[in-house]
Symmetry: C2
Subunit: 205 residues, 2 copies
Amino acid sequence: MAKMKLLYAPSSPYVRKAMVLAMETGLDRKIETVPVTTTPIAPAAEVTARNPVSKIPALIDGTLALYDSPVICEYLDSKHRKKKLFPAKGKARWVALRQQALGDGLLDAALLARYESFLRPADKRWPQWSDGQMAKINGALDAMEKEVASLKGAPTIGHITIACALGYLDFRFADLGWRDKRRKLAAWHAKFAQRPSMKATMPPG
Amino acid sequence: MAKMKLLYAPSSPYVRKAMVLAMETGLDRKIETVPVTTTPIAPAAEVTARNPVSKIPALIDGTLALYDSPVICEYLDSKHRKKKLFPAKGKARWVALRQQALGDGLLDAALLARYESFLRPADKRWPQWSDGQMAKINGALDAMEKEVASLKGAPTIGHITIACALGYLDFRFADLGWRDKRRKLAAWHAKFAQRPSMKATMPPG
């Protein structure tokens, strides 16, 4: 059977979510990664062809082209017979999906802050915009610290997303010092980051 | 039983998705809307208290606080016994979720384009950023036109999201002329916009 194709960049935290889920469930052997380089002002044609809003990851499985990362992750989770990372129903499902939205929300703010400070010309930067995005990041971190107890136990898509979000801060916002005053979250992340799936998907050094 | 609370703004297309779903399924009687005014640089405290990344909609049902709009919509869809708007499984589910991501992706680009031209001071605007977001909007519109046949039949969360995205373009990007060269999508939208749920949630004039 033909492999699925995943449009991929090693530095994308949204791609990392899908890769971690694939490795946790043994699906990585059925996925071919296709490296791409894309930004909001220079979208890659091969991404736009599969995802009209030009974001990665995008997954191609036969005639089906899927995006964005929550859809891809849930689709992949339907394709294996191991323990599911998306709880099927009830409160466990809503907590996991809400945690995924929390991690993705942190990442959306982090990417916008990064575009502001690295992509946008220096004279066009607006400090209040960056401040607003950093406030979202810090708010999300405080919320994660507060609910760290709900990150224990068998991993879900919520745990994976939060771990990838924290990994992205270490990669691109090392100066933020997110661990200061968030010792429980830091301890949780240190342990989660030891999973082989997390180690194998570390962003480039 | 206590009503659910939905943090709400009549101009938010993401809020509109949840309201349309609620009206289509009769859940609107069980939801109290709580009006808020929030922006990325002036987040409302009552939003931040419920959603750490300060976005609406946020839904409060007893001790459960949920975000973002895809999570809220799926949660609401689990709370009624009428026809489901999230197909349970199989290709229908992946198409509906991917269409939701397409509509949300158009909206994310449209909101960023609007923040660039209305919120950001004039001397800090970067035309290439706006151009990049407009390219995403146009790419999404072309994709919707191409797959308009899949928007026929009983409504799904995909249809609702795309209809709300198009409604937002009429509200904030009337000059875009999205209907030009997208006649099939325009005809589909004209019909979908006649649904009572869509009429009742029109953005303010």
